[in-house]
Symmetry: C2
Subunit: 73 residues, 2 copies
């Protein structure tokens, strides 16, 4: 069995909440003791379970911010 | 076998490219003929294969933009 260790270094915020209380959160997470990465992912209310998500590098987050700021939302 | 139909309605942009030429792209995608959603996902160079990703609603994208604009990057 493979163990994944992670530590939420910084909770940046939630962008939505499901009816069951799961949050789609942007966090800074260290996976297996490595340098923290940005992480956009679904989490159960107390962080007791995680859902699918994406990790993003700093450069990707900057590029994403630029893309989003260029949209008319 | 389950067939997933999708159509890329709008290519918003790429936020990174892997050494193999895959792009992490933000697009507006209609899945199975439904209303298009924002979609952040890895794609092979000619969109011939897709990797893992997340779909995001308009509200989630707006919230994400607000979070990112509040960060010192």
């Amino acid at each position: 069995m493979v163990e994944i260790k992670y530590e939420i270094k910084e909770s940046i915020g939630s962008i939505s909440q499901s009816p069951k209380g799961w949050n789609k959160e942007l966090n800074l997470i260290s996976w297996n003791g490595k340098e923290p990465k940005f992480d956009l992912r679904d989490w159960a209310p107390e962080h007791e379970k995680m859902g699918k998500g994406l990790t993003l590098t700093l450069d990707e987050v900057k590029a994403l911010r630029n893309l989003l700021n260029g949209l008319e939302l």
